[in-house]
């Protein structure tokens, strides 16, 4: 108790120095948390992936499509319970600014939402969507961002599929929980195929990927092999993988950037460690005569060491706590500034734990060396020291 009192009083002896160190800590812990949140947001799509969904694509590359008739053959494979289709559309809404960018997919309107229970759909809206050839379902996030309401018309300018495509919003799906991304637009693959058949007949009856639902997630590898074996030596061989692996293959393209963000976040912690260690070394050196006096009075080296490590820990605990608290409004501000670029941008409990652990580690490590020096110093040498 007395030790804590003394530690607390010591912290504010050099107010400016302590405040600057605290400020540095708050900024470092905040920056670390934000960068870790960016990394998490990057992987958010893969976290949403279901263990019971596989994605079958063209083995050569994702840019090559697969024939639609594969659907029935995949459905017949043991362990498969349902198959739906998904085709990247890549249309432009209004203009090419990042704020207006969102993903659009042509899907099998009859069963797509059955395979994605994380999208909560109103039954009437789903029926209206299925009935309307040009109907679309938009996610809650996307609807809120652009003010889409049921009945609104949306025009997309095709890039992969040229022309202007007119749609009508027939429903807005809600997220099951906060990790579910609802920033996409889904429309009828039949409508896309119908138009393609008229304009580019050779590109008709093809899909981007098949989404394969399996009964048992533990049989994913076996079912994937069976699907790919079914189409071996065919005109379009397939590559089937879990939905998570499929999502991660996209992220892998930007892995270097993510790795750089991750490395920088840890570099920030190393820098603040150097700052706090320097502060503590200076502090301990200036107070060497006081520590020697305490030892002369009968306090042991452990008490002196605890004073220094305690002070270091208290500064980092305070800075860490403020940094963690600041992370939440900062993340909210960052998300608002980034628009819908990061659909899920939330400071995770794991990130908070890492921030707290970093602050704790900095506190202990920065205090250890000066504490060891002060504990070892001879009383007569310490008493002679003029700080």
């Amino acid at each position: 108790m007395y030790l804590l009192k003394l530690v607390f009083k010591n912290i504010f002896r050099h107010k400016l120095r302590s405040l600057l160190t605290l400020f540095g800590l708050v900024v470092a812990i905040l920056a670390f948390g934000l960068m870790q949140t960016v990394v998490n947001a990057w992987y958010a799509g893969s976290d949403m992936a279901s263990a019971q969904r596989l994605v079958t694509r063209n083995a050569v590359s994702l840019v090559f499509p697969l024939p639609i008739y594969y659907r029935d053959r995949i459905k017949a494979i043991d362990g498969v319970t349902a198959v739906t289709v998904s085709n990247w559309f890549g249309g432009i809404y209004k203009d090419m600014t990042p704020a207006n960018f969102f993903a659009q997919f042509a899907v099998d309107q009859d069963n797509f939402f059955d395979l994605y229970p994380e999208f909560k759909v109103n039954r009437d809206e789903l029926l209206a969507f299925r009935k309307d050839r040009r109907g679309v379902m938009v996610g809650r996030l996307l609807a809120d961002q652009h003010g889409f309401k049921v009945g609104d018309a949306i025009a997309l300018k095709g890039t992969i599929y040229p022309g202007t495509w007119d749609f009508v919003v027939r429903g807005i799906y809600e997220p099951k929980d906060e990790t579910t991304i609802t920033r996409q637009l889904y429309f009828h693959w039949d409508y896309l195929n119908e138009q393609i058949r008229k304009l580019y007949p050779r590109r008709a009856e093809q899909v981007g990927v098949f989404i394969v639902q399996i009964a048992d997630g533990s049989r994913a590898a076996e079912v994937s092999q069976n699907v790919d074996r079914e189409f071996r030596n065919s005109l379009a061989e397939t590559l089937t993988e879990t939905e998570k692996a499929f999502q991660l293959s996209f992220i892998a393209q930007t892995e270097t950037i993510v790795m750089a963000v991750r490395v920088v976040s840890f570099v920030v912690i190393v820098i603040i460690f150097a700052v706090v260690a320097n502060t503590m070394a200076m502090t301990a050196r200036e107070r060497l005569a006081e520590y020697a006096t305490l030892k002369a009075l009968g306090f042991g080296p452990g008490f002196v060491a605890a004073l220094i490590v305690g002070e270091s820990l208290m500064i980092t605990a305070l800075g860490g706590a403020l940094g963690i608290l600041a992370s939440f409004p900062a993340a909210a501000g960052f998300k608002a500034a980034m628009g819908s670029f990061f659909p899920v941008f939330k400071v995770a409990p794991e990130t908070v734990a890492m921030q707290a652990a970093s602050a704790l580690a900095v506190g202990v490590l920065a205090g250890i060396l000066p504490a060891a020096r002060a504990a070892r110093v001879k009383i007569v040498d310490g008493l002679r020291y003029i700080g």
Binding site: Y2, A296, G298, P301, I379
Partner: protein
């Protein structure tokens, strides 16, 4: 008035101490043999580098001799381990330093209370003792003041209260008036004399100040690390 008894509280026999500076061994004390009686007030004098502070540090148990025997209250402190020596200092030695060495973040009360934190006294008992000690040095009205709010003389009086508080066997004072003006120095010396005469405290003081020497019962001269005994100047 209490006088010095015949019973020695400090017995030093063939004590030697040197330091190592770079590659060189620098001897500081040679073959010191000295007895200090219980209730005595000794002034250790000598030119700079004569070894008087080193001898005081050895008696106070904050440094260890290279050779010889050093008994304080019948206990050979040269044989104690570091932690045992720390415990011994806490209960047997009161320190008064030239620059007071008070904790700047603690007020007068808390500074005086420091040595008692190593005892098993309750908070109430500690408070009673601290108030009594501060009253003894005339600082009852300054208990809440921090060192930077006190004059040099007042800070030294707080240091004296801290040295007294655990009722130590000996009080060691290293140039206690060295940083004070004449008036404050006179007050401090008067206080030390009272501690010695009225409370029977054994005081060993290093000083350059001839006025301070007049307060002591006995003067011990050191030159080049050796004792050059002198007669008592006051008793």
């Amino acid at each position: 008035m209490a006088g010095a008894s015949e019973r020695p509280i400090v017995r030093i026999t063939h004590l030697a101490k040197g330091y190592r500076r770079g590659d060189q061994d620098v001897p500081v004390l040679f073959d010191i043999t000295l007895a200090i009686a219980e209730g005595d007030f000794i002034a250790l004098m000598g030119p700079s580098g004569s070894g008087k502070s080193t001898l005081l540090n050895l008696i106070a148990g904050i440094d260890k001799p290279d050779a010889g025997e050093l008994l304080v209250g019948g206990e050979d402190i040269t044989r104690l381990s570091e932690s045992a020596l720390a415990d011994w200092r806490a209960s047997h030695v009161g320190f008064i330093f030239q620059f007071y060495n008070l904790m700047p973040v603690l007020n007068a009360f808390e500074n005086v209370e420091l040595p008692l934190l190593l005892t098993s006294l309750s908070r109430r008992e500690r408070r009673e003792r601290v108030e009594m000690a501060l009253s003894l040095v005339g600082l009852s009205d300054r208990m809440d003041h921090y060192p930077n709010e006190l004059s040099g003389g007042q800070q030294q009086r707080v240091a004296i209260a801290r040295a007294l508080i655990a009722d130590p066997t000996i009080i060691v004072a290293d140039e206690p008036t060295g940083d004070l003006d004449r008036k404050s120095a006179g007050e401090i010396l008067g206080l030390l004399r009272r501690l010695n005469e009225e409370m029977g405290k054994t005081i060993i003081m290093v000083t350059h100040d001839w006025h301070a020497v007049e307060s002591a019962r006995r003067v011990v001269h050191l030159e080049k690390g050796e004792l050059v005994d002198a007669p008592a100047s006051h008793a």
